[in-house]
Structures are given as C-alpha cells and as structure tokens.
Amino acid sequence: MSIRGSTAIIGIGETPVDRLGRRPGERRRTIPEYLTWAARLAMEDAGLTRKDFDGQGLAAIYTTNYLQPFWPEETASILGITPALSMANANGGAATVSALGQAAAAIQAGLVERVLCVAASCTFVENHNGAEPRDVRDFEVPYGLMGANSGIALVMRRHMHEYGTTLDALGNIAVTARYHASLNPNAYLKKPMTLEDYKTSRLVADPVRLLDCVMPANGGKAFILTSAERAADMPRKPVYLMGFGEQDNPSYGPRTHSDATIMGIRDAGARAFAMAGVTADDMDFAQLYDDYVVIEMMQMEDLGFCEKGDTKYFESTDFSFKGTLPIQTGGGMINCGQPSTCGGMIHILESVTQLRGDGDDRQVAGARTGLCTGLGGLPYGKNLGSTAVAILSNDNG
C-alpha cells in the first residue's frame, strides 16, 4: 500500500536565522528557544496548539551540534508535549525529508493522526562532543580534513574532470539562487551577485570557492503533517505528499571505489517519481539540497532534468521562478543559512510556500507539483551517504 497522496502538510514554521555566538561571550539563543519558536509558528499556521500533539507523533531531528542520545524525549520535554510516537532521524541534511516519508507512513498505518517534525540548531556553540564516524576520525582527519569543504572539493574536481564542468554553468545556478534570495524576506544573503562575483570568489578547498559554500547559522524550522482527510478541514491549503524515495549508503560500482560523480538521489528520485506517477518533466519547480553549488548540479543530472554532464544545459537554462525549471525559489540554504541538519528543511517549507501560492514576488505561476531533496553525510571515498526525495502537490488526484 503506497503512501501516495494520503497525507498533507498543514502547517509550517521558520524562525529567522542569525549568526550569534561566533565570538566568545556573545549573547545568543539556545536550541530550545529556536525549537519552541519554530514549533509555535507551525502550530499557529495550522490552527493547532500544543494540546493537539499530546498522544500524537513527534519527529525529532538530530543535530550535529548537540549530540544527545535521548534527543526525541528532550525535544518533547522542551515543547511540553506527550507524544504517542517518537521518531528520531539522524540522516544529516537528508533527515527532515527522510522524516517526512516516515511520518506519512506512520499516519497511514494509523499509529497517529498527525506528526510534528521540528528541528533547530546553534551552529557555533553548544556542547559538540566531537563524535564522528570512525572511518572519518581514524582515516581522514589525520590527513587534514577541512570539514565538508574538502570532501565536496574531491567530488567536484572529479565531476569537472569527467564532464568539463564550467564555472559559467555552476555560476548560473549560484546567481539564480541569490536573485531569488533578494525576493525572499526570510533570506539572509540578499545582496545581488554577478556571474563574475562567483567566478572570482576565493578558493577555500580548490576547486570549491567561497561562493560555492553554505553558511553556518542558528535557527529552527518545523512542519506538521496529517492525513489527507483531516487536512481538508484545516485552515491552510493542504500540500500533499505524492511521492517519496530514499537511498542510503549508495554505491555505484564496487563498494570500496564507487563512482563518486553519481548520487544516491538517482535511485531515491526514481522511487519518488514512480510512487507519484510523474516524471522530472512534470515538476513545476525543484528545491534542491544545497550545501554546495556543484551538488545542486549533480542532483539535476541524476534526477533526470538533463543528461549527465550537460554543461550547455546548465549554462543556458533559465532557473529563475519565471524560467523553464525554477530552482531554489527562496534562495536555498546557501542564501538562507544552514543551522546544521535543520537547514535542509528549508526545501520542504519553500515547496509548501510555492504550492500554497504564497511566494509573493518569487511565486512560480500556477505551481501545482514540485520536488524537494535532502542529502546528508560524506562517507569515506564516496558521494553523499543519505539521500531523500519528496514530491509535493496541491492536488492529490
């Protein structure tokens, strides 16, 4: 039994992001404050209160900045709710999209009627305990690993080598996202950017440039999912989950040396499209997980928006909200900040905004169906380790 069209998002909440805490002693908010704030905004949006989440589902998202094994229980405690089902997702940047699929399955199975998915992080501080995958700690860090920058740089250079990827192609994606950010009141980086700005930004982990990278931030985000039947009686226009797919620890070739230019999103996407009964051509927009610009490009290839390595497509396509394939219509995570694993939820929230017709100056005209993605983790010698795709629509027919 498929979960196609059986659930809908009925509320979303997003706090502003900030970068407080970068300097020692700087006054800042903590994770519980962003968590509570985001959950309240989502509940208000849905016309619900905390009481409506007693005996219901809670999807808690582990953040890299506060690794606490009992995090789902602490989340419930912070919010003052008493869940009948706690789901915890630790798929990194893929976690919130992954949780969306799991929440839908739980609702369809009748375990609960609604699920609150909430995530928050304070990137600069909190008691990071330094836990890392053993492969990374023992066999990467001693060689001078520089966070995700160095991991993506390895993937990016291989992609450039195999496909002749150009800075013009990458830059078109980066500039379009910044343009959309300038139209989004909730974005963080809004200053217009030119192709030249992108191409001349400084190299941090060659070939990764400063303007390829997402920016750490503090913030919280939340969404509320319920059954399609119940959604019909709620105040906001329902946004239905039509397709979902996930692929974790992907390998394309031998597991010890797989093709690093192919992403698990290829298989996650194929599953999501098959469930929804649509193809890439049917998408009115794509909100792509964007820790780095090249990763957006590789997802578009692997989701079937173009052939692998079609540099001309990326150089010449209008990706704006008025264009042939609108992407990152709110500016994406690169321009709205990345509060750790909470950051990826921005693509779910922007999809809902578009499908409600609330996109204001950046609204995709007549948007009916679109997709959002999540990606997480950089395993040893491979492309990203957790991948998830959700296809959302304002019509569940």
């Binding site: 023992d138 520089m146 966070g147 160095s150 740089a153 982990a205 040396h257």
Partner: protein
C-alpha cells in the same frame, strides 16, 4: 611549567583491535588491507566483515602501494573543528588514490609542488611517522 603558545596537537587515529594490524604494518612500511577468504574481495576501511559478501573470514593482505589519483583538492583555508593543527601545512593536497588492487584511499600527495598534482597521476605509497605508533600512508609521484 609555563607552556606558552603550544602548537595545536595533530589528531591521530585510535588503534583498536580491528585496526592494529593495519597500523603495525604501516609502521613497518607495508600497506595492507583485509581480503575476504570467501569472495576474494578487498574491504576498506577496516570492517568486522566483508562489505561485498558479508564473509567474516578476513585476512590482512599486502598491497603493491601503487595507485592513481582519482581526484584531489588543494586546501587553501582552514575550516571546521580541529583544523588549526594543519594551518602551517597550507597549501596542501588531500587526494583519493585508487589503488592498483581496487580500493580508494584517502591521503595526502607529498613530494611534489601542489600545482603539479593532477587526476590520473601515478603515485606510490610513502610512510610518514607522525608518532611512535602511527605512520600515515601518504603518496608521492611515481617515477
């Protein structure tokens, strides 16, 4: 005793029951990996079982130490926790070397200017003794 301006300590791997044979071999100047006696495939990083077939009968096998640069990055700026220990090395090269026997190995390319490194470059292993117990396998251009 005053310890003024100590250098940040370099992160070192933990030697465990599973990884001890690898680090012992590295200390002796040999690159080894686990080979599955059931299917014959190599497994890397160290695992309790073969990642291809699940077999648990693994033996440490010496490799040629030769490989090819699959991809690389030149680190030009610090990023992330614990990064400061490598500040003095900048610019330096992190690479994925595909070994002749198959597995991909995360490493540094040493023994040549950073600008000389390229994808497809043929390299061979050298061992960098970073502590009494740990010699990190790194790679240099093969003549």
């Amino acid at each position: 005793m005053a310890e003024a301006r100590t250098e940040p300590r370099r992160p070192l791997p933990e030697i465990t029951e599973l990884t001890a044979p690898f680090w012992q071999a590295a200390k002796e100047g040999r690159l080894v990996m686990q080979r599955c006696r059931a299917c014959g495939e190599l497994t890397w990083c160290p695992r309790p079982s073969c990642v291809e077939c699940g077999g648990e009968d693994l033996e440490w096998d010496q490799l040629s130490g030769r490989g090819t640069v699959y991809t690389f990055t030149v680190i030009r700026q610090l990023a992330g926790r614990g990064a400061r220990a490598f500040e003095k090395d900048i610019p330096y090269v992190i690479a994925w070397v595909d070994l002749e026997e198959g597995p991909r190995f995360y490493t540094n390319i040493v023994g040549c200017p950073v600008d000389d490194v390229e994808i497809g470059m043929k390299v061979e292993v050298v061992f960098d003794p970073v502590s009494d117990d740990i010699s990190l396998p790194k790679f240099k251009p093969r003549s």
